[in-house]
């Protein structure tokens, strides 16, 4: 992987024209990857969608104040039909209302806050743990590798849902528990990827050079090895975020995550299942929000992978 990135750099870097001004600024591997990402329209659209979702999530309180509908405010007169059913999208409630007469749009926006927060935080925690453990196992090898790799195996073979249900039964559902559970079940696969990469990178001559200079293991791991496996780590992180968002929604849907009345997409979907025959908007909008978010992150992750490892990308797609 590193080798192919390197090869690509060698290949695409234009030779400096004769007599060119010396002020030509060298482009880093990251800048080159960014240039390739910019040219990927799917990735750029996905990125724009993600930015919109983030803006929406951040602006949720602002929007709530603007329309005068709180996220948990129940409008029993205007928000429900005389029969007590949710109202369809209208002038007042742009995406309709839910079974308690709450503004669905405001709740979807508030739900985005929880989803993004849980997804990103759980991914960051999982990636940090995974990178440190994978790097240690791969670089140090020997006993450390054996112990850590078995630990990874154990975590990967854990029954996720059973564990989550049992844990929540003991400590009770909360956002923190959700994030913890998601992170706990996500780091192991990253650790595996990182370990494999570290195994190959530690045989490179520049690692040997660092050792001959007298660098300590920790320095070599983080200064020499880590930058060379950052590419797969970044790809993995962007692909982990949508998985974590879906995880969180699943936990909420099952009542194991964030508790009602807090708006999360999982909660909303769970409440809507009884009303799908009479109020399609109640199911569709939280569902679409979840789908669009995870899809955008996944497509962006694919784009980033292609940008960082152009050879593998082109061989498959074009």
């Amino acid at each position: 992987m590193t080798q192919s990135v390197l090869g690509e750099l060698r290949g695409t870097h234009p030779p400096a024209p004769v007599g060119a001004p010396v002020t030509v600024e060298g482009r880093s591997p990251w800048q080159l990857a960014w240039a390739r990402l910019r040219a990927d329209r799917v990735a750029m659209v996905s990125g724009a969608v993600i930015v919109l979702i983030i803006i929406g999530a951040l602006a949720a309180p602002l929007f709530s104040a603007l329309v005068g509908h709180g996220p948990n405010e129940q409008f029993r007169d205007t928000g429900l039909t005389p029969a007590g059913l949710p109202r369809p999208p209208s002038h007042t409630f742009w995406l309709g209302t839910d079974d308690l007469g709450r503004d669905l749009l405001v709740r979807v926006l508030y739900g985005a806050r929880i989803s993004l927060f849980a997804g990103v935080l759980a991914s960051v925690i999982a990636v940090s743990i995974g990178v440190v453990i994978g790097l240690t196992a791969g670089y140090l090898g020997g006993l450390a590798d054996t112990v850590l790799s078995r630990l990874v195996d154990v975590v990967l073979s854990f029954p996720f849902l059973l564990f989550a249900i049992a844990l929540v039964a003991i400590v009770g559902p909360s956002l923190a528990i959700s994030v913890g559970v998601i992170a706990f079940f996500s780091w192991a696969s990253i650790a595996r990827v990182v370990r494999g990469q570290a195994l190959s990178i530690k045989e490179k001559e520049y690692v040997e050079a660092a050792r001959s200079l007298g660098a300590r293991d920790v320095r070599i791991m983080f200064v020499d090895v880590l930058p060379n496996l950052l590419a797969p780590v970044i790809v993995y992180t962007t692909l982990l975020i949508p998985a974590a968002i879906a995880f969180e929604a699943t936990l909420s849907f099952l009542g194991l995550g964030v508790l009602p009345p807090t708006a999360t997409w999982g909660n909303m979907l769970s409440e809507s299942v009884q009303y799908y025959k009479v109020a399609w908007w109640f199911v569709i909008f939280p569902g679409v929000a979840l789908l669009v978010t995870t899809l955008a992150f996944n497509l962006l992750g694919d784009g980033i992978r292609d940008a960082l490892d152009p050879r593998a990308g082109r061989a498959q797609h074009r």
Binding site: T2, L6, G26, K204, A209, L213, G214, R216
Partner: protein
């Protein structure tokens, strides 16, 4: 060039001579081979009992075929590999058993220049930070001081200091090797181990790097252990030459002496394989063609390791291992490991190689 007063005798009195910077004594490095049969331990005998000494300021050229253990020897000397047996005495201190922590101060004084100018530089780091690595690792200079010294080094090795923030991929092979040289010289080491520093480069670039290394040796009073499989490079840079075959040194001595009066049949064969840049002389020249392949270092032949391919081999060669000692009438500084060393002008061409079958490997 410096003439060795009493070069490679028994290394027992090592460390006494203040002029000796590096004293390698009976160095052995075996690698275990995994997955080839369960019974017994299969080992690659990469280096099998090498002793040599480097005096301050000299260049010792180490030649030998690919796979003869040159690079392993270099990595044992710099303690990138742990030794199986033997001693490495650097500047009077036995460093062969030091822990990694206690070894660190010696790492400053022993640097390595690597063969592959692409593989030996981290592609994700800027050149300035790569060359500044030794300063950072040993806490010698920081901040602007480090920057200044790195720029100085870059200028000294013929790089443009303005390229401080570039990445290795933006440099040519020769320039990259200059980066490697700058990194090795940053802490002004006493010993620089050059592991085939030019063999990955174009011939025109090779000369530049070799001249650079020679200039730097004068300026910084460096001692080089210079490894190459290219005799013409070795001839150019070395004060003394050591010839390696299958993990052992078969001949060692002053450059002129080894090249003009080779005593070991293997040295003679190597020399006869050097291309002659003159078609007429090349026509006349008789090449010694060695038959067979280099025996596997997993199971090296008994006796002299060269006897299976040697035109002069006799039964004795298959059983006993010759010591490294001067041939009769030779200076003590030019020992050879052969029972039947060549005389001056002795012809080796056309003779069949090897002893008869009874002396074969088992």
């Amino acid at each position: 060039m410096t003439a060795p007063p009493s070069a490679v005798g028994p290394a027992g009195a090592a460390g006494a001579d203040a002029d000796v910077l590096l004293d390698v004594d009976g160095l052995v490095k075996h690698f275990p081979v995994r997955g080839t049969g369960r019974l017994g331990s299969t080992r690659v005998h990469a280096v099998d009992g090498v002793s040599l000494r480097l005096r301050r300021g000299e260049t010792l050229g180490l030649v030998g075929e690919t796979g003869c253990g040159k690079s392993t020897l270099a990595r044992c000397v710099t303690r990138l590999h742990d030794l199986t047996a033997g001693r490495v005495v650097f500047d009077g201190t036995d460093i062969s058993r030091l822990s990694r922590r206690r070894l660190r101060p010696y790492r400053r004084q022993m640097q390595m220049i690597f063969q592959d100018p692409y593989g030996s530089l981290n592609p994700r780091r800027r050149v300035g930070s790569i060359i500044g690595d030794p300063f950072a690792i040993h806490g010698v200079a920081g901040g602007t001081e480090r920057r200044r010294r790195v720029r100085e080094l870059m200028e000294r090795v013929g790089l443009n200091p303005e390229h401080y923030n570039r990445f290795p991929a933006e440099f040519s092979g020769g320039q990259r090797q200059r980066i490697g040289v700058a990194r090795a010289l940053a802490l002004q080491p006493g010993l620089v181990v050059c592991d085939e520093p030019v063999s990955a480069l174009d011939v025109s670039i090779q000369a530049q790097i070799i001249n650079l290394l020679a200039d730097l040796q004068d300026d910084f009073e460096l001692t080089y252990l210079f490894i190459s499989h290219d005799l013409s490079v070795i001839r150019h840079v070395s004060d003394r030459i050591a010839v390696m075959y299958l993990g052992q040194i078969v001949e060692i001595g002053p450059t002129d002496s080894v090249l003009n009066h080779p005593r070991h049949p293997y040295t003679a064969a190597l020399l006869s394989a050097v291309p002659v840049p003159d078609p007429e002389r090349a026509e006349e020249r008789q090449r010694i063609i060695l038959t067979g392949d280099v025996p596997s270092p997993v199971n090296p032949p008994a006796g002299c390791r060269f006897h299976l391919r040697c035109p002069k081999a006799q039964t004795r060669c298959a059983s006993g291992m010759p010591d490294l000692a001067p041939a009769p009438g030779d200076a003590p500084g030019h020992p050879v490991a052969c029972f039947f060393p060549l005389g001056d002008g002795e012809e080796l061409t056309g003779r069949p190689a090897g002893v008869s079958a009874e002396g074969g490997e088992r």
